[in-house]
């Protein structure tokens, strides 16, 4: 009799052990891919299997990064781009959600605006860049506008769809209490759509980076996008690749933050 719970305990330990083992295997492979990629890059650049002028090498990039850190210039560039991206991201998501709320509020407006939304969504937003620059001036306003405009329409469409798909019985419950349209929106429509809004945030993180980098290609004197285009112009591809790596790191951090936010919100709503 006494050995039975002991047996279960043992099996449970085994199960936890197998989970840990699996995790260790995954991590090991991930590390090897990472190390292999950079080692191969370094080696092939060293042995000139690839053109070191175009593809640079990890050691040179690190060297460059250290010098940029020492003179402090890299921080201005990073700060500039991250600031623009965060602002563009927030603006795009917020105005997209507000637009979606307006469409939900006025069924007539949503019918009228439907074809325009389809056209605007289909159009490549970065093509608007030159117009934005002329209209808003060649400064960071137009770059932020690029970061925002690239995500606003798709946010509107996705969030509006989720507003419409909220179970009408929730509205029925509220209406029997005499709730106004505003109360229905606040109590049912918006909170029920939070998971969708969060998942559009994840998409928008990536989109805003695209918008801002393209914006910086076009006008900027500062920022990571500027470094890329500058490196390209002076044929310093080490600079281009370094900027690319920094962008990858910061985009990942932003994405992780949104995921953290998602876990927080979903946890409290469930």
């Amino acid at each position: 009799m006494k050995s039975k719970p002991h047996r279960i305990e043992q099996l449970h330990q085994q199960y936890i052990g197998s989970l840990l083992r699996e995790k260790r295997i995954v991590r090991t492979y991930q590390f090897f891919i990472f190390a292999f990629f950079f080692a191969l890059w370094e080696l092939s650049s060293w042995l000139e299997w690839i053109d070191p002028l175009i593809f640079s090498s990890p050691s040179k990039i690190v060297e460059l990064l250290i010098s940029k850190i020492q003179d402090g210039s890299i921080f201005t560039h990073i700060g500039f781009t991250v600031f623009e991206t965060i602002l563009g991201f927030i603006l795009g998501t917020l105005s997209g959600t507000l637009l979606a709320a307006f469409l939900w509020w006025s069924p007539l407006a949503s019918k009228v605006l439907d074809p325009y939304l389809v056209i605007l969504n289909a159009m490549p937003k970065v093509a608007l860049g030159p117009i934005l620059i002329v209209a808003l001036g060649p400064g960071f306003t137009s770059i932020i506008a690029m970061g925002a405009i690239i995500s606003v329409i798709i946010t509107t469409i996705v969030v509006y769809t989720s507003f419409k798909e909220v179970d009408p019985n929730y509205i029925k419950v509220l209406k029997t209490f005499g709730a106004s349209r505003y109360v229905c929106f606040k109590e049912a429509i918006l909170p029920a759509s939070f998971p969708t809004i969060i998942s559009t945030l994840k998409v928008n993180v990536g989109l805003s980076w695209v918008g801002v980098i393209v914006g910086e290609f076009l006008v900027s004197q500062q920022g990571l996008g500027y470094l890329i285009i500058y490196g390209f112009q002076v044929f310093n591809f080490g600079l281009v690749l370094m900027s690319l790596l920094i962008i990858a790191i910061f985009a990942t951090i932003m994405y992780q933050l949104v995921e953290y936010l998602e876990r927080k919100i979903i946890k409290s709503s469930n």
């Binding site: 019985n169 029997t176 109590e187 469930n270």
Partner: protein, 261 residues
């Protein structure tokens, strides 16, 4: 003057190609404190009629009067509505859910709060205030939904198959609970169901509905003996079986008359 008066209500749903009459010429009067059932096959417009009585839907013609005044002109909502499912808001705690009606009606004060929590206690779910709906079972959630509905102190309660999504045992228990609660507050109630037994066990009067278009086909009064019993005990009474047979036959006749169904 009766408490609720439905006068010549008809309703037609329009689509581009069709005009489907869901209800035609419904007239009935309900005295205060009575329990009615609308019984009929699906598609007979029972839910449409409830929405009209609740004032959520304007009928194509006819009128619904509560205490002599049109329902849509009522100063404050006096209808409580319970649906097939609980429709508790999953992101709100039980406390927030049951106080929702009061908050919207701007009647959220110390007294009404205390009444609501007392109701929660009476219904046997004290201590769940800080939990989320997901943590409770289906029957518990439906009981919370009942508290939410009653908290706003409606004069008329509309029950749209509120037990249909529950397992049989829970359903029987809830029938007793709802019946006792409504009796103690002497609320008027209308139950929509397609369960003959439930209609007999719970109500004072049963209205049989025919389909295409929805009409009142027959009115059946439940005998006094059954009315005075709890739904569970009513089901065990000999009168119950004979009434069940009667209703069953009526429904079969009804089916014969509408061969399209």
């Amino acid at each position: 003057m009766s408490f609720l008066s439905i006068q010549h209500v008809s309703h037609t749903y329009f689509t581009k190609k069709t005009a489907k009459t869901a209800l035609s010429g419904i007239s009935l009067d309900v005295e205060e404190g009575r329990f009615l059932s609308f019984l009929g096959p699906s598609g007979c417009g029972k839910t449409t009629l409830l929405s009209i009585i609740a004032g959520l839907l304007e009928p194509s013609s006819g009128e619904v009067l509560v205490e002599g005044r049109p329902i849509r002109e009522a100063q404050e909502p006096m209808i409580g509505y319970m649906l097939q499912q609980d429709y508790l808001f999953p992101w709100k705690t039980i406390e927030e859910n049951i106080l929702l009606g009061l908050r919207i009606l701007k009647k959220d004060n110390e007294l009404s709060r205390r009444k609501t929590f007392k109701l929660l206690k009476e219904i046997g779910l004290e201590g769940t205030e800080k939990q989320y709906p997901k943590q409770l079972s289906g029957g518990m959630k439906q009981r919370i939904a009942l508290v939410r509905t009653l908290a706003a102190e409606p004069k008329l309660l509309l029950l749209d198959e509120p037990f249909s999504a529950l397992d049989f045992q829970t359903k029987l228990k809830l029938e007793d609970l709802v019946s006792a609660t409504l009796k103690s507050f002497s609320k008027t109630a209308i139950l929509v169901t397609h369960d003959i037994g439930e209609a007999i066990a719970m109500s004072d009067t049963i209205f049989l509905f025919s389909t295409n278009p929805g009409r009142i086909y027959k009115q059946i009064d439940v005998p006094e003996v059954l009315r005075n019993l709890t739904p569970f005990n009513a089901r065990a009474h000999p009168e119950y079986s004979s009434l069940f047979q009667t209703v069953w036959k009526e429904l079969e006749n009804l089916e014969k008359q509408t061969p399209s169904y």
